[in-house]
């Protein structure tokens, strides 16, 4: 039970990172490997606003989200947009390069130490079925759930959300019906940065945050997205939770050093036997460019 909950907590962050991958992937076919850095930015900026500047909680949250959004925006405008003729491999390499830049900036401002701040609510840990659960754990899971529902409504019910989906399905057709594709691409980067940063803000009180945590988070989140089928948000959420739970189960029952391997072995098995992921059909896969 204890491991289940700690798995759900990490899994929630993987799920958010996975969704971040999906948002940019759906709009641009780019795998944005700087996704993990957004999470780190969320955690560290939250620390900066709330602990260093002593701003109130909600102001800090809003400011962190805005900062992450700006980083996403700058990233798209400065590196992705200037490249007119996209070569996907090159684009992906550029996102790696950008992630190094971001890591350099974070290291310069925050140094190499891990950071932590108070949980969102103070209080005794809860006890559910014999498992001791910090209140922050519930916050992480709750916030993730809230984000997922919000994104679901965004893509199904709002005009902008639908327009973004349209770009994903067919950019040329989207352009023809008057959707500003370039703006949607920009928006997808902003949105994925915000989603990542929210994950970072929520997880930092539990697992600390340091400047070089990004790449591992990106790999795990990417595994989550692939597992569920790249492009499917439902899949990413489930993939994230499955990976999170299996990881903490392995760490708890077998050996802590093996936890990273388990997620990857499952990933390989899924790739070999059901490469489209658990939630995307073969037919959908063939429509994909990359």
């Amino acid at each position: 039970m204890q491991f289940l909950f700690s798995g759900l907590t990490v899994g929630a962050v993987y799920a958010l990172v996975g969704i971040g991958f999906n948002i940019t992937y759906n709009a641009t076919s780019i795998i944005n490997l700087a996704q993990g850095e957004f999470v780190v930015i969320g955690g560290l900026m939250m620390w900066f606003f709330s602990e260093s500047l002593k701003l109130p909680f909600f102001v800090s949250v809003v400011l962190t989200i805005i900062t992450a959004g700006i980083v996403g925006l700058l990233m798209e405008r400065l590196t992705i947009k200037p490249l007119k003729k996209p070569d996907l491999l090159l684009m992906i390499m550029i996102t790696i390069a950008v992630s190094i830049v971001l890591r350099g900036i974070l290291m310069f401002f925050f140094g190499k130490d891990p950071y932590v701040y108070h949980s969102f609510t103070e209080g005794e840990p809860l006890s559910i079925y014999g498992a001791i659960i910090q209140q922050q754990t519930l916050w992480v899971i709750g916030i993730t759930g809230f984000c997922i529902i919000l994104l679901f409504f965004f893509f199904k019910k709002t005009i902008i959300g639908k327009a973004m989906l349209a770009c994903a399905v067919n950019p040329t057709a989207a352009k023809l019906v008057g959707i500003n594709v370039s703006r949607m691409v920009m928006l997808s980067f902003v949105l994925s940065a915000i989603v990542g940063a929210i994950g970072g803000m929520a997880i930092t009180p539990i697992s600390l945050m340091e400047y070089d945590k990004g790449p591992m988070l990106a790999v795990k989140g990417f595994c989550a997205a692939i597992m569920g089928g790249l492009g499917s948000n439902r899949g990413a959420v489930l993939g994230g939770f499955i990976i999170g739970i299996l990881e903490s189960m392995t760490a708890g029952y077998i050996h802590s050093g093996l936890k990273d391997a388990v997620a990857l072995i499952i990933l390989l098995l899924i790739l070999f036997y059901k490469p489209a992921g658990l939630f995307v059909s073969k037919a959908m896969l063939q429509l994909r460019k990359f």
């Binding site: 950008v98 790739l271 070999f272």
Partner: protein
């Protein structure tokens, strides 16, 4: 070998011979040795990506297998080091074969992810069950032939770059052979190759194995040079680093792999003076070089030279 390649090759050999004579410092030579080791991995990945059109993010796994197998064998089995290096290459080749059969059915990013997963699993295995665990182990013997050990930096420089030259010679001939033409055809259209009766799958597997063997050779050279290894040197970051070398140098040209390896190895050394800003500056240089030299350094250089030649021709 084509005429341009031959002249480039002769220049290359001269550079290798002259470099240690002109800059004798041990530090410069050491950076040179690491460039050469990285170049070996990059050449393998370049053939795989530029000619067979397959992306691998798992080269660090093969590099690690090479380093560990060769070190453990030379420490404990009493075999000559040359034999343990060859056995390390065989081990990596076998691992590549096992991975290749299911993985090369995958395409695009799925293949990249599968190889990434493989590399990370190797890393976890080395961390858990490798001698010394996460902190690694030392006292690995220096490279040498039976009865003769290469322990001078200059000697090792010649050894590493001599091997780079041989691997390069072999690879250039390979891509200009029937197999190489078939590979480029696979890159352009798999369906057409299948229709022409080429065994595409077997070709891809063979190139994958070749790139793994190159990486293992580099890994064992690394282990026998630094004489101390730990799993940290064989992580995903190394795979990404090699990928960066190939792309910066130019994916469509084997010489690009060497240039890219040298640039990416030397750059962090030059950036030491920026102290805590070095990561940032490295990232900025990488981003802008990817954005402004999109085809990679070598193909752009060749274009420039051809243009100059064109002008010269017009003048006459």
């Amino acid at each position: 070998m084509k005429k341009e390649d031959l002249s480039a090759f002769i220049v290359f050999i001269f550079l290798i011979i002259l470099f240690p004579v002109l800059s004798g410092g041990a530090y410069t030579l050491t950076v040179g040795i690491f460039s050469g080791i990285n170049a070996l991995v990059a050449i393998g990945l370049c053939i795989l990506m530029g000619y067979a059109g397959q992306v691998s993010l798992g080269q660090a796994g093969f590099y690690g297998i090479g380093a560990y197998v060769s070190s453990v064998l030379s420490l404990h089995s009493g075999l000559p080091i040359v034999v343990s290096v060859i056995l390390a290459m065989v081990a990596a080749a076998v691992a590549a074969m096992i991975l290749a059969v299911p993985a090369l059915r995958l395409k695009g990013h799925y293949l990249a992810v599968a190889t990434l997963g493989f590399g990370e699993i190797i890393n976890v295995i080395l961390n858990e069950w490798g001698p010394g665990g996460p902190s690694g182990f030392g006292d690995i013997p220096h490279f040498g032939l039976p009865g003769y050990t290469i322990d001078s930096t200059r000697g090792y420089f010649y050894l590493v770059w001599g091997l780079v030259a041989s691997v390069m010679f072999f690879s250039i001939n390979l891509i200009n052979s029937r197999t190489g033409r078939a590979l480029r055809a696979v890159h352009d259209s798999e369906a057409a190759c299948n229709a022409m009766g080429l065994n595409v799958a077997a070709l891809k597997i063979r190139v994958f194995i070749l790139s793994a063997a190159y990486a293992a050779l580099a890994g064992s050279l690394y282990a026998h040079y630094v004489t101390f290894i730990s799993p940290g040197s064989f992580s995903l970051f190394y795979s990404i680093l090699v990928l960066t070398m190939v792309i910066v140098g130019g994916i469509t040209n084997l010489w690009g792999a060497i240039i890219g390896a040298v640039v990416i190895t030397v750059l962090p050394e030059l950036l030491r003076r920026f102290e805590e800003l070095d990561v940032l500056v490295y990232g900025l240089i990488l981003t802008s070089s990817l954005m402004f030299f999109r085809k990679g350094l070598v193909p752009i250089l060749i274009e420039k030279i051809n243009k100059l030649k064109g002008f010269a021709f017009v003048k006459h």
